[in-house]
């Protein structure tokens, strides 16, 4: 599954590369302004660490293509969460992404009867389309940039997830609005996600408490600082479907450094609340993104 999607994305990139050589080299121009590609949301699209945004990945303008690779690591008291993947922005209009999440239960896996170091994986294939509005240029209007997105999520260990009363596959749909307020140097972001995912989908989809789709909210506010730095906070509500493991909302506070259009780094404190009955799962989030 993963290999197939990476192959498809690489193929598409090569095709675009061939197109670029033919048309003109400006197709990979990185023509957008620094910071306007955002960083990578844990599930792969352009956003903050936790919250989806209406921004399109990469620094390509509407005449060009951008892409990036990301890696994220979250250290929690009882678990570690790693994520990485690739995202592509087409003409500042469409975003395609593939992300893999790896959730290592460490010593807690043994206590849960799963075995020490038991690892859950999840593959997320995402697509986002920018609908209307402009986050950056339309400073004379409060109308935000609005996009809709879809994430197809496939978990590992179907048997385990079924035993929990959850499905191993699910789809998230979201609408996101993003606005940059240049005068005060503030970026605001809000999204509504319709989802059945437990812990982003790592613990499957739906469950005994209610299997249906549920609207959840993602909010973030970011303050731009000199030296290409930004600080911000995010909040994300999550469903509570599993009877054995109540799920909490998540929040984080971060600092991001847009070193260049080719590299950005994120350092955060993140609180994911209760995961698999282990309370107070908070810790350090580090993320890096390379691209154009």
């Amino acid at each position: 599954m993963a290999a197939r999607w990476i192959g498809a994305l690489l193929g598409a990139t090569l095709l675009l590369g061939a197109g670029a050589a033919r048309a003109d080299e400006a197709l990979f121009e990185s023509g957008r302004l620094l910071g306007t590609a955002g960083v990578t949301e844990i599930e792969g699209g352009a956003g903050g660490g936790l919250a989806a945004s209406a921004l399109i990945s990469g620094y390509g303008t509407r005449d060009a293509v951008g892409a990036n690779l990301n890696g994220t690591f979250v250290s929690l008291p009882n678990f570690t969460l790693g994520a990485g993947g690739v995202a592509m922005g087409l003409y500042d209009r469409v975003e395609l992404s593939y992300q893999r999440l790896v959730f290592d239960t460490g010593a807690t896996g043994a206590a849960l009867g799963l075995g020490r170091g038991f690892t859950l994986r999840e593959d997320v294939v995402g697509a986002k389309v920018r609908l209307f509005g402009d986050a950056v240029y339309a400073q004379d209007s409060m109308l935000p940039q609005v996009a809709v997105g879809l994430q197809v999520k496939v978990g590992s260990h179907d048997d385990l997830l079924h035993a929990l009363g959850a499905d191993a596959k699910g789809v998230d749909l979201y609408v996101a609005a993003t606005k940059l307020l240049l005068a005060p140097g503030v970026l605001l972001n809000g999204a509504v996600r319709v989802t059945r995912a437990n812990q982003f989908g790592l613990l499957g989809f739906g469950g005994p408490h209610g299997g249906g789709y549920h609207p959840e909210v993602e909010l973030s506010a970011i303050k731009l600082l000199p030296y290409h730095l930004a600080v911000g906070a995010e909040f994300r509500t999550k469903p509570n479907n599993l009877s054995f493991a109540p799920e909490s909302h998540a929040w984080d506070a971060f600092v991001a450094w847009f070193v260049s259009k080719n590299l950005s780094l994120t350092l955060a404190y993140v609180d994911l609340g209760t995961i698999a009955n282990r309370k107070n799962q908070d810790g350090v989030y580090v993320g890096a993104q390379v691209g154009f």
């Binding site: 023509g31 302004l33 620094l34 303008t61 950056v136 400073q139 240049l182 600082l225």
Partner: protein, 172 residues
């Protein structure tokens, strides 16, 4: 508290800067009796976009005519050595363009100027300017502000004033 009424020739479409234009409007009736509630209302309306250095115009924050001239000169220095856009500025009288831009920024930021040159749209139509070109010049402007030591908050305010010109400058 509201933008100070010491800018007698400050002219901007009142739809864009209603509060900034208010002192002018009241001055037409009576220079000495500007309604206090108008200032209060405008102060409240401006609160959400709190600029730390709200006292004084953006023109003042940029260093007045001298500061704006330095920013524009720095911007053109960077533009002319910027391989992405320098070709677009060949055969253009950059001294003339610089003077025009200084006048325009002076007026736009609340300075005592009255710009009489062509509109942004008129000056750029048919030049085939892309998003990338526009953003390259924005980056050159940022470099120019770096060189001029423009305060961070003033940069954001200036960029916010200029960003909507994107639609008039870039060819659709």
């Amino acid at each position: 508290m509201h933008p100070a009424p010491h800018r007698p020739r400050f002219r901007l479409p009142s739809s864009r800067r209603p509060c900034a234009a208010a002192p002018d409007a009241s001055a037409a009736v009576s220079r000495r009796h500007a309604p206090a509630w108008l200032g209060l209302l405008c102060g409240l309306l401006l609160l959400p976009a709190l600029h730390p250095a709200r006292a004084g115009t953006l023109y003042d924050q940029l260093g007045g005519q001298e500061g704006i001239t330095r920013i524009v000169a720095g911007m053109y220095r960077h533009v002319l050595s910027d391989g992405r856009v320098s070709a677009k500025f060949e055969n253009i009288d950059t001294d003339f363009i610089q003077r025009q831009l200084v006048q325009q920024l002076c007026e736009l930021t609340g300075g005592p100027c009255h710009y009489r040159g062509p509109s942004m749209h008129g000056g750029h139509s048919g030049l085939g300017i892309t998003d990338r070109d526009f953003n390259a010049v924005v980056e050159d402007l940022q470099d120019g502000m770096d060189d001029a030591g423009t305060p961070f908050m003033a940069r954001g305010r200036l960029l916010a004033l200029l960003a909507p010109m994107h639609g008039q400058i870039v060819s659709r």
